[in-house]
């Protein structure tokens, strides 16, 4: 907010500009929609689209995560990793393809409605309320819930014990790793059915990164599907059940984490040999 001339908010479609979604309505028609309960829990299939009226960033890109799994999206800079995740979360105009959650087509839903349907999203930047306390951050995460949130907050504190100690402190005063824990905790407060993390380890030290990965595995073990975008491809693929390597907005390689780590092509291009 430091620059008085910068615009307000991001320019992603439809968080505050539902009108931009108008061209979307017909896209999913005719596409075969799988019956509820079959196929991956959350999937974006054949997604093609870009920001606003700009060029396509994603080209027939398919990403999915199933129950109890960790899916990781890796790839070089500018490959459209974050864009793919935003597309699944509804922050992008899709010109082709569709997104399904638990077998239901959600392509036309706004991001807020996707949160209500059980999607938890942690953006890469500006993912906390800096001047509010840790506890208030968690409360705001649960804003759409009408019931008692104390039990959920307790679960978050068990997962991230440091947050319990810092509950009264302003989130903006915490270290980078602790902030990310607040951000993930905030997203967990809605009791989501799937958690989406956009580069959760960006800008934290290697030690903190390891700890964050441990926590993410812990979250996934509770049965919550986790989909994440990661810069640290090797470490991310090590914990991934499914890995997607994107190049220029297209699926370049897909497989289990182990397969991708063993694939000479992937090693050569993305893992430094």
């Amino acid at each position: 907010m430091s620059d008085a001339y910068s615009g307000r908010g991001n320019k992603d479609a439809s968080i505050a500009q539902p009108g931009l979604r108008s061209e979307l309505a017909g896209v999913a028609d005719g596409a075969a929609t799988p019956a509820p309960g079959t196929g991956p829990f959350l999937s974006g299939t054949g997604m093609t689209g870009g920001y606003g009226k700009g060029p396509h960033i994603l080209h027939d890109c398919t990403i999915a995560v199933d129950r109890g799994e960790i899916a990781v999206i890796v790839g070089p800079n500018g490959a459209g990793k974050s864009t793919a995740m935003k597309a699944i979360f509804g922050m992008l105009d899709l010109r082709a393809g569709h997104v399904t959650l638990d077998g239901e087509d959600i392509t036309a839903l706004s991001p807020q409605n996707r949160v209500r349907r059980g999607m938890g999203f942690v953006p890469q930047n500006r993912n906390i309320f800096p001047s509010m306390t840790v506890e208030e951050n968690l409360e705001m995460g649960a804003f759409i819930r009408e019931d008692d949130i104390a039990a959920t907050m307790e679960q978050v504190f068990e997962l991230f014990p440091i947050l319990r100690d810092k509950r009264g402190q302003a989130a903006g005063e915490l270290s980078g790793g602790q902030r990310q824990q607040v951000a993930v905790g905030r997203a967990l407060m809605t009791r989501p059915k799937v958690l989406m993390l956009d580069e959760p380890t960006a800008g934290v030290s290697p030690i903190v990164m390891d700890e964050l990965f441990d926590r993410i595995i812990e979250v996934a073990r509770t049965g919550l599907p986790v989909m994440m975008v990661e810069q640290n491809a090797r470490q991310a693929l090590e914990i991934a059940d499914h890995g997607y390597v994107l190049v220029q907005g297209r699926n370049a390689h897909t497989g289990t984490g182990k397969e991708l780590l063993a694939d000479p092509d992937v090693r050569q291009s993305f893992l430094g040999g």
Binding site: A4, G7, I15, Q112, R126, P130, E136, F143, I144
Partner: protein
């Protein structure tokens, strides 16, 4: 005895008036800072918003007075205050609907909203003058003094008198209640917290399911209340004149910026900093110095740093200094 006289003179001419004035500025600055923090622009129409709220309050005060309705020793204006707030709230919500909402939908940059608010300022300016005229209006009634100078002198035997006007005491009490309510609302209620969240990180607030239109509406309601209370208290304490309220914009913005735009605590601190500076720099210190210093050192002139005609220069100078050396203000607001 001289020392006591000096203290009494200082309290009578500097401390009490500056505290009351500071409270009025603080309430005004709170409104500016809330709009900046939540709606993200500097609202130049705030002075005239205060004038409009006060105008409605005055009209209701006159109506109550004509019906013989009074508030005992307290000014009738306090009874009329809720109606003034209501009128002001209707005006602000109407303005938001026909003007600001359009620019919000466009995601207009803050600098455009500032210019828009100047346009709104001119409209309010004309509206107020159209309704109540350009002249000075006095609407204070009830008991004038809590302690009058004469009573104080006869009670204490000091040469200096100490007067405490009832409007000054009312200003402090009402301001304290308003500020306490505001902070309770912002830190304890769900709606208040969602407003702070919206101010902190708009995108994340939207993702969390916070309804932006509700936040905006509640913000305007609170701003209407703060502006009307600030304007009415200032009018009771001094007098109501549309042009004076327009001029109040400078010290109010100075207060909000000194404290740190977007920070409610800062707005209050800033209000008092500006008020004390303004009063102390334009006060003729001859009398106090005469009591404290030996006769040989007593000043010949008035020992007044700046004529009261130039009091706005004080706010302006403080504003410039703060923007040069600490642009985020005392309480780390968003950069001005």
């Amino acid at each position: 005895m001289d020392f006591l006289n000096a203290i009494v003179a200082l309290a009578n001419f500097v401390l009490i008036p500056a505290t009351a004035y500071g409270a009025q500025l603080a309430l005004g600055a709170l409104g500016v800072t809330l709009i900046y923090g939540i709606l993200r622009f500097s609202n130049f129409a705030h002075g005239d918003t205060m004038a409009f709220g006060t105008t409605v309050t005055i009209l209701f005060t006159w109506w109550f007075q004509s019906m013989g309705v009074g508030f005992g020793p307290l000014p009738t204006a306090l009874l009329a205050l809720p109606f003034g707030i209501l009128g002001c709230a209707l005006l602000l919500l109407g303005t938001d609907r026909v003007v600001f909402r359009f620019y919000r939908a466009q995601k207009a940059v803050p600098v455009i909203l500032v210019i828009v608010s100047m346009g709104v300022m001119f409209v309010y300016n004309g509206l107020v003058r159209f309704i109540i005229g350009v002249d000075t209006q006095r609407f204070a009634d009830g008991e004038r003094f809590i302690i009058s100078a004469r009573d104080f002198k006869s009670a204490t035997g000091l040469d200096e008198g100490l007067a405490l006007k009832s409007t000054q005491a009312i200003t402090l009490v009402v301001a304290a209640i308003a500020v306490a309510l505001l902070f309770w609302f912002l830190t304890r209620t769900r709606t208040g917290k969602s407003m702070r969240a919206f101010s902190d990180n708009e995108d994340l607030a939207l993702l969390s399911g916070i309804n932006p239109e509700k936040v905006v509406t509640v913000t305007w309601l609170i701003v209407a209340a703060l502006a009307t209370i600030a304007g009415t208290l200032y009018g009771l304490d001094k007098s109501f004149k549309p042009f004076t309220y327009f001029q109040l914009l400078l010290p109010i913005f100075a207060a909000a910026i000194v404290g740190g735009l977007g920070s409610p605590v800062g707005a209050i601190a800033g209000g008092f900093v500006i008020a004390y500076s303004e009063v102390m720099i334009t006060y003729a210190w001859k009398k106090v110095a005469g009591y404290l210093l030996p006769e040989s050192l007593a000043p010949d002139g008035l020992a007044q740093l700046l004529s009261t005609d130039y009091k706005f220069a004080v706010s302006f100078a403080i504003l410039v200094v703060v923007l040069l050396f600490k642009p985020t203000g005392l309480f780390k607001g968003k950069s001005a």
